[in-house]
Symmetry: D2
Subunit: 281 residues, 4 copies
C-alpha cells in the first residue's frame, strides 16, 4: 500500500472514578476523571483488524478502578504515574503511556456528617506521558479558573490601521478563564511534593492576577506565568491560555444617562484569546 500509519494512539477517555478514604476523622474524597492512552507498535490492529497486541480500552478502564483500590488514590500525579507504569507492563507493544487526570475539588461542609460541596468552578489537572524505559514528562495545571478584576486594567498604545477602531481605555474590567499547565523540570517530577506545587502555583496565578496592574492581557499572562515559576523551583515551563472575556461598558447616553464605569455587558463571542509559554532559562 502507498500509505503509512504515521501516528497512532488509543485508550479509554473519561473514567469517572471516585475514591473515598475512610481512615481519618474526615473522609477524604478524590473525585477524578481519568483518561488513559497508549502509543506504540499497534499497526496490525489498524491495517488488518488484528487485535492480538491490543490491551482493550475496557481493560484500561478496569485498570483505573483496580489500581484505585490496590494503591489507593493520593495525589493525582502519583496515581497517574502508577497507572502509566501498570499500563506499560500490561501492554508489551506500547512505547508510551499517556494519562490525564482531572480532579474536581470539594470543600467539607459543617453539620456533623461527612458532607461536601463543590469548591469553585475550576478543575485541577495532571498530564503525564511515560515512555518505556524513559523519564516521565509531567505537567500539572488548572482549567476553568474564572477570575475578574474591576480596576487596574488599561489598554492603549496599540497599532492603528484601517480596521482598528477600538477606543483606548485607562479603566476596564478584565476577566478571564485561566487554562494553565506547568511542566516539571527534567527529573523533578518523581518524588515532588505535588500538593505543595499545585497550591503554590494556584496561589501565584491568583496573586499575580489580583496584584498586577495590567496594560494588556498579554502582560498579565506573562506576569502570571513568571509568578508560577518564581514560586516553584520544580517547574521548568508554564503555558497559559487566557480568553479575554469582554465586559463592554454600555453607552447609556441615548437614554439621558451617564455611565461612569458602572454598567457593563458581559459578551459571549467573539472573545480575544491570548496564549503564551514562559520557560525557565
Amino acid at each position: 500500500m502507498s500509505y503509512d500509519l504515521t501516528w497512532n494512539q488509543y485508550g479509554k477517555a473519561e473514567v469517572r472514578v471516585v475514591h473515598v478514604d475512610r481512615s481519618g476523622p474526615l473522609h477524604a474524597v478524590r473525585d477524578l476523571n481519568v483518561t488513559t492512552a497508549l502509543r506504540g507498535d499497534f499497526g496490525p490492529a489498524y491495517t488488518d483488524g488484528d487485535n492480538a497486541r491490543v490491551l482493550t480500552t475496557d481493560a484500561q478502564k478496569n485498570t483505573v478502578f483496580g489500581l484505585a483500590r490496590e494503591t489507593g488514590v493520593g495525589e493525582p500525579e502519583e496515581f497517574a504515574l502508577a497507572l502509566a507504569r501498570q499500563l506499560l507492563a500490561a501492554s508489551p507493544h506500547a512505547d508510551v503511556a499517556r494519562v490525564v487526570v482531572e480532579q474536581f475539588p470539594w470543600t467539607a461542609l459543617g453539620g456533623g456528617g461527612h458532607a461536601f460541596s463543590r469548591a469553585g468552578s475550576h478543575v485541577v489537572v495532571a498530564e503525564l506521558e511515560l515512555p518505556r524505559g524513559g523519564q516521565p514528562q509531567l505537567s500539572g495545571g488548572v482549567d476553568e479558573l474564572v477570575v475578574l478584576k474591576t480596576t487596574d486594567s488599561e489598554y492603549h498604545g496599540f497599532l492603528r490601521e484601517r480596521f482598528t477602531t477600538l477606543a483606548e481605555t485607562h479603566e476596564r474590567i478584565l476577566a478571564t478563564q485561566v487554562t494553565a499547565r506547568w511542566r516539571y523540570a527534567e527529573g523533578a517530577a518523581d518524588g515532588a511534593d505535588h500538593a505543595a506545587v499545585k497550591a503554590g502555583a494556584l496561589a501565584a496565578l491568583l496573586e499575580a492576577f489580583a496584584g498586577h496592574r495590567s496594560l494588556a492581557l498579554q502582560q498579565t499572562l506573562h506576569a502570571m506565568g513568571t509568578a508560577v515559576l518564581d514560586a516553584r523551583p520544580e517547574l521548568a515551563e508554564v503555558r497559559l491560555s487566557l480568553p479575554n472575556k469582554h465586559h463592554f461598558l454600555q453607552d447609556l447616553s441615548r437614554f439621558g444617562l451617564d455611565n461612569p464605569d458602572a454598567v457593563y455587558h458581559a459578551d459571549d463571542r467573539p472573545y480575544g484569546l491570548i496564549e503564551g509559554t514562559i520557560t525557565r532559562r
Copy 2:
C-alpha cells in the same frame, strides 16, 4: 378563524449585565443574567403582525441596562421588582411582567487589587411575576448546587416486583445537584431582607443535607425543604428538584480485589430524579 391564542408571553432572555459599585473600600460586583417577559393583550402582533402595542425586546434589554444605572443594582429581588414596575409602566397592554435574575457569585481575592474569583459552581436565582395592580409573586432559589456525602445514606425496604433487582444498601454515596425555589408568603416579599433570606435558606439546605441520616433521597428532600421553612418565616413554600447522581460501588472481585466502600464509578445517565414541594400550612 377557528383558533384562539390562548396564552402568550414574549421578552428578552439572558441579558448579561454586570454592575460595579465603586463607592466602598472593596468594589461590589453584581454579575447577573436577566430575563424579562410580558404577558397581556398582544393578540394583534400574533394574528396580524401589528406591533403597535409591543414594547420591543430590544427596549426591554435597554431597560435592564438603563435601570441598572438609574437605580443601581442591590439585591436581585429588588432589582427584579424595579424592572417589573418599569416594564408595566412602559407597556400599557401588558397584564403581567415576569423577571428572572440569575446571579453568579464571586469571592474577593487578596493581593491588593479589586479582584475576584468565581465562588462555587452554583447560581442564585430570583423569579418574580408582577400583575398590574396586584401583589408581586416572588421566589428565590439556587441552581447547580452540587453536594455529596460519603456516609449516612442508606436505601432499603422498597417495593419488589418483576423488574426490581436493586440490592439493598446500608452505606452509599449520596450526591445531588440542588435546584431549589423558595416562595415568599403573600405580602412578605416587599421590604424583606432578601440577603438574609438567601443566606438562611442556603445554610439550611446545606446543614440539612450534611446533618441528616438519609433512608431515601425523598426523605432528604423533605428534610431540606422543611429546614428552609424552619429557618425563614417569610417563606411559604419550597420546591426542590434533586437528581440522584449515582455513584456505583465497583465490583472488583474479578480482579481478586475487595471493595469495602472505597472505589466508585460516578455515572452520568440515567439518573434518579426526585422532586417535591413542601408548603407551610
Copy 3:
C-alpha cells in the same frame, strides 16, 4: 408538623435505550432518551424514609429495557403508553405515570451496510401523562429545530418610549430554534397514526416558516401553530417557544464599505423569546 408535602414526583431520567429491529431488509433503529416518573401517595418515603410503596427508579429503568424487548419499540407515543400502563400496574400507590421520550433521528447511508448518520440537529419528542383509570394526555413535539430565512422578514410599527431605540427594518434575517408541542384532542391519542401526525406537523411548521412573510416573530409563531392545526385534525393545541436568534447587519461604514444586506453577526445573548399557545375552538 406544620408543613405539607403538596406535590411529589419521582422517577428515572434519561434512559438511553436503542432498539434495533433486524427483521426487514434495512435494520430499523429507534434511538431514544426515555424519562419516567410517578406521582401519587408516596408521602411516607418523603416524611419517614419508608420506601415500602416505592417502585425504585432502578426498576423503572429496568422496565424501559425490558418492555423494549417484550413489546418492541414502534412509534415513541405507543411505547410511552405501554410504559405508563406497566408502571401504573407495578406501582399500586401511583396515581399518574409520566413518560417523556426523545427520539434522535437517523438517516440510512448507502454503501451496502446497515449504516446511518444523524439526520438534522433536531429531536422529536413525545410527552404522556396517564392517570390511573383515566384518559392519556399526549403531546408530540420537536426540540432544537434550527431554521433561518434570508428575506421576507420585516419589523416596524412597534411602540416607542424612552428605552426604544431600535431602527425599523423591512429586510432582515429571521432565525430561530423551534420548540413545539402539539397536544392531541381528548380521545384522539389512542390509535392515532402517530408517524403521520409527526410528519404532518413537522412539514406544516417548516412550510409555514418558509412560505410566510413575517412582520413579527409573533406573527410567524401564530402562522406556524395554525398550520399544524390545519394539517392534523387529531390535534387540539400547539405550544411554540421561538427564540429570536438575532443576526445583526454590521455597520461597515467605518471601513469605507457599504453593507447591502450582505454581512451579519450572529449573536448569542441576549435573545428575544417569543412564546404562545394556539388552541382549536
Copy 4:
C-alpha cells in the same frame, strides 16, 4: 530576567459571521465561526505591556467582517487564505497568521421563500497557517459527524491479562462521532477545487464506514483514512479521532427475557478513543 517567552499566539476567537449572497435565484448562505491568530515578534506586549506592535483582536474581528464584504465569502478555504494575507499585511511583526473557519451547513427548504434548516449535526472545518513569505499549510475537515452501524462490526482476538474481562463479540453496534482533518499536499492548496475536495472526502468517510466490515475501530479508522486519500489526490495526510460511543447489549435474563441483538444501552462515559494519522508515501 531568567525566563523566556518561548511561544506566543493571540487573536480573536469565534467571530460568528453570516454572509448572504442574494445574486442568484436562491440566496447562498455562508454561516461561519472564524478564529484568527497571529504569532511573531510580540515580546514587548508580554513583557512590558507595550502594545505598539499589536494588531488588536478587535481589529482582527473587524477584518473578518470587512473582508467578508470586500471579497465576498466563497469556499471557507479561500476566505481563510484572504484573511491570513490581510492579517499579515496589517501586522508587520507577525510571522504567521492562523485562521480556523467552522462552517455550519444549511439545507434549502421548499415553500417559496429563501428558507433553510440545519443539515445534519456536523460542522465543516478549514484550518490554515500562513507563514510570511511561505507556503500555506491547509487542512480541511469535519467535526461532530455522528454515524452508527447495526451490523458488520466484530471485536475479538485481543490481548488478555489480569484486567481484561471483556467478552468477545461477532456482532455489535458500532457508533462514533468523526473528527477528521485532511491536509493538502505541498503546493496543492492554492487553486484547488475545495468544494470538490470536501464533498469527496466526506463521501469517502461515510462510504468506508458503511461499506467496511469492522474487526476493530482502529481498522475502521484506517479504512476511512485511506478512502479519503484514495478519493482526492490533492491530499497528503488524514488525521482521525474516533470516540467509540459504546452501545452495550442489555442482559435481560433477570427478567426472563432473551436479547438477540435487539436492546442496547447507549452509554456516555467512559468511551474508547481511537486516533491515528494516515500519510501518503
